[in-house]
């Protein structure tokens, strides 16, 4: 049977082939039936039409459905053609080799997982608040720059990074990014990569916490419902530990119902006098509360708080994202924002300072290119992959889904009135935090088509059940208003708007609190490992005192940046968010640099451009953005320029300057800009060290021309599973042979 998949070699004769013959895969890919041609032509035409509607037609308004079509069609084309190109020429997965999940199987950490389930797992692990916040802030530059970057960036950079890192980690027994950096880049490059990872972790936790503080401050409803997640999680943890171990779905449904009760109850509590008195909390006490919470949560056992909240957050994440996608497709909101706003070129936007290049690319990190994913794509997921060829679906495909979440967040932010958008996202320093101040400031920006009235602000605040929506910076409240605006058209009408708003706030706070807790734990282990080189006792991670000291150090580090952000006279988010994006893109540059060194050592120089392209771009973006933050003479952009301006004002004996009303506030600005500037210098130095180390490793490999490899030795596989979401005819034929084996438990759910 020349066309049968059973022609593929097997290593053990007692079972059917473990892989489809590569010639058959090749023939399947190259066989263009009329139906297949028609489908791809239709996808290409629809995608092309959508891009024309977004980029060229640009009517008075643009319908959100064009964003969805442009994104989805481009993802399909990128997945079918570009990721296959990478698979064929660069990675060359071999299904006859066992994955770590097979040859290291222990039934716990290393366990072969169905590709469709693992896709969901991986997506839930990579998608958090990042893709929801960045696009909202970038919406000030108009809809087009963000849309292009999110869609094109993911196809050529973000998904490529996730796919490569996942594949290389899988070939190395599931090694982490830090370990791979040490192996490939040597001592200096590897150490710089580890220091960078630790610092980035601190920055990211601090800024995510800042987003939560900004969303909850002065909002008794939000504080009550988010605070209730703690007892709900504790209850779920005890239920799973003592009452019904392993009943994860059951307890998640109970938790979800309690969560809905907390959101609805929050509305009632916020209407009582005692509720307002008890749960209206200022930014500073709220920030201190989160710092204390972060410390306690990170030293409590995982089963009590982290694990149950993880289940809840996975449940909410997948459910809400599906619901939002459905709502956008059904409601199809009109978008009034211009394609490219004046702030893209002037760089004077009130939300985040700076021009389109490079600041758009650091404001939107998650969703287009997120270095943080490299930490998940190495280590966790590779230990669960069943077959090598599945990495394309899980790694590349998983990131496409996150990009789609970012597009939906952008659509939600753009669907609200632009005047309201700027009133919510301009710092309190600019608006004075009052309706009158916000109206004067936003109308004074001179944006065409924007005519904000005090009634619009007070009406929106009343609709979403908040005292005020002025200067609710950080992106989360804006997204929540956008989501509430879209969802109420699908379910419930304007009467449910307040519910949807607080549902969205809860949804984001849940991920962020989990990220804060988990990030603190990971950082604590990294710190203990580092201190352990000097004081060996710290290497023992079960030593309580050491664990507490290390946790306290890490919490103090991110807590200090958080407090700096909430008390910043210049606004907080607008000065700190670029650091978040730079840190994330820097981590991406490190991950891509490690991948480049690996590819060079494998000897695939012809296809090095696949990784050199995104690496070059990430390097240019992070280094130029950092240089602007360090050297720009414009105070709104350069940290040191701002620092010098305030020091000069203090030296001149001024008692108020810019948005700082007192000498104390002026001193705070001097201190904050110094810290931010020093962090920028640290980041850019680490980035340059790692990239130079990778380039040197690449050149060395080119000179030597040997295909040395740090991969684990190949072990023959003894299992079979299809590679993509839908099995091909050849895969179905093989699957049938495997299913027919006696004594094999057949997998359910085809």
């Amino acid at each position: 049977m020349p066309d049968s998949p059973s022609r593929a070699q097997t290593d053990a004769p007692q079972h059917p082939p473990v892989a489809v013959d590569p010639d058959i895969i090749e023939a399947h890919d190259r066989r263009w039936t009329p139906l297949k041609i028609a489908i791809w032509v239709a996808i290409a035409l629809l995608g092309g039409l959508s891009w024309v509607m977004l980029a060229v037609v640009r009517g008075e308004t643009v319908n959100a459905i064009w964003f969805v079509f442009a994104a989805v069609c481009t993802y399909f084309i990128g997945y079918r053609f570009y990721s296959k190109y990478i698979e064929k020429h660069l990675l060359k997965p071999d299904d006859r080799r066992a994955t770590p999940a097979e040859y290291k199987a222990d039934g716990k950490d290393y366990a072969a997982t169905d590709r469709r389930v693992l896709y969901g797992h991986h997506f839930a692990a990579i998608a958090g608040a990042g893709p929801l916040v960045g696009p909202v802030l970038a919406a000030q530059m108009g809809y087009l720059p963000g849309t292009i970057w999110i869609i094109v960036g993911v196809v050529l950079a973000g998904a490529v990074q996730d796919y490569l890192v996942m594949f290389f980690s899988m070939r190395r027994g599931g090694r982490s990014l830090g370990q791979m950096a040490r192996d490939e880049l040597g001592r200096v490059g590897g150490t710089a990569a580890i220091i960078a990872t630790l610092t980035i972790m601190v920055i990211i936790v601090a800024i995510l916490a800042l987003v939560v503080v900004n969303a909850l401050a002065e909002s008794p409803w939000g504080v009550f419902s988010v605070a209730m997640t703690i007892p709900i999680a504790l209850f779920m943890g005890c239920y799973l530990r003592f009452f019904r171990p392993g009943k994860v779905t059951e307890v998640s449904i109970i938790g979800f119902v309690l969560l809905l009760a907390a959101i609805i109850g929050g509305g009632a509590v916020a209407e009582t006098d005692w509720g307002v008195a008890l749960f209206t909390v200022d930014k500073v006490p709220l920030a201190i509360g989160i710092v204390v919470y972060g410390f306690v949560a990170a030293i409590l056992p995982v089963w009590l708080l982290l694990a149950p909240r993880d289940y809840l957050s996975t449940f909410m994440k997948i459910g809400t994202i599906l619901m939002l996608a459905l709502a956008i497709i059904v409601v199809r909101p009109e978008i009034f924002a211009p394609a490219v706003s004046e702030f893209a070129t002037t760089g004077t936007g009130p939300v985040v300072s700076g021009t389109l290049f490079p600041f758009l690319f650091v404001t939107i990190a998650c969703g287009a290119l997120s270095g943080f994913h490299a930490l998940i794509a190495s280590g966790t997921t590779p230990k669960l992959i069943e077959k090598e060829r599945q990495t394309r679906f899980i790694g590349y495909g998983g990131m496409l889904m996150e990009s789609f979440v970012a597009i939906m967040a952008l659509v939600a932010a753009l669907s609200i009135d632009r005047g309201i958008y700027f009133a919510m996202n301009s710092s309190a320093a600019a608006t004075g935090g009052t309706i009158e101040g916000a109206v004067a400031f936003v109308n004074g920006l001179g944006l065409s088509g924007v005519n904000l009235t005090p009634e619009m602000l007070s009406q929106t605040a009343a609709d979403v059940g908040e005292e005020s929506i002025v200067s609710r910076t950080g992106g989360a409240p804006t997204l929540a208003v956008g989501l509430a605006h879209i969802m109420q058209q699908l379910i419930g009408g304007s009467g449910l708007m307040a519910f949807w708003y607080h549902f969205a706030i809860m949804f984001e706070a849940l991920f962020i609190l989990t990220a804060v807790d988990a990030g603190t734990r990971v950082a604590r282990f990294m710190l203990q490992d580092t201190i352990g080189n000097v004081i060996p006792k710290f290497k023992n991670t079960s030593w309580r005192v050491g664990a507490w000291i290390s946790t306290a150090i890490m919490v103090a580090a991110w807590g200090a940046i958080l407090l700096m952000g909430v008390t910043d006279p210049l606004g907080g988010i607008n000065t700190l968010f670029p650091l978040f994006g730079i840190a994330n893109q820097l981590l991406a540059a490190i991950a891509l640099a490690v991948c480049m060194a690996i590819i060079a050592k494998r000897g695939y120089f012809r296809y090095l451009w696949i990784v050199a392209l995104p690496l070059g771009f990430a390097a240019v973006v992070t280094i130029s953005a950092s240089f602007l933050k360090i050297f720009s003479p414009v105070p709104a952009i350069g940290y040191f320029a701002q620092n010098a301006a305030f020091r000069q004002a203090l030296a001149d004996g001024e008692t108020s300057f810019g948005t700082a009303p007192t000498v104390e506030a002026m001193n705070a600005v001097v201190r904050n800009t110094l810290v931010q500037g020093v962090l920028s210098i640290l980041f850019v130095t680490l980035a340059i060290v790692v990239i130079v180390a990778a380039v040197l490793a690449t050149i060395r490999a080119a000179r030597r021309r040997s295909d040395e490899s740090s991969e684990d030795p190949a072990v023959p596989s003894r299992i079979f599973a299809p590679a993509g979401l839908v099995a091909t005819p050849a895969e179905k034929e093989l699957q049938a042979q495997w299913d027919a084996l006696p004594g094999k438990r057949r997998r359910e759910g085809h």
Partner: protein, 63 residues
């Protein structure tokens, strides 16, 4: 496809995503070719062990 199959498929998928099938997968492993069948954890022990191992080997969540 019958409604029962759809429901069963959905249940299988939700359990997989939530990680609820972890103990069954563990049993499959220890009872299979490679396992050390001498000491199989009970369901309660397995779930305790699972969270306890997360304590000493934390995994980051993404931003």
């Amino acid at each position: 496809m019958r409604a029962v199959d759809v429901a069963r498929g959905l249940r299988w998928y939700v359990r997989g995503i939530m990680g609820e099938d972890a103990y069954e997968k563990y049993l499959d492993h220890v009872r299979g070719d490679h396992g050390d069948a001498a000491r199989i954890m009970t369901e309660r022990e397995f779930w305790r062990d699972r969270t306890d191992r997360q304590d000493s080997n934390p995994q980051g969540r993404c931003c």
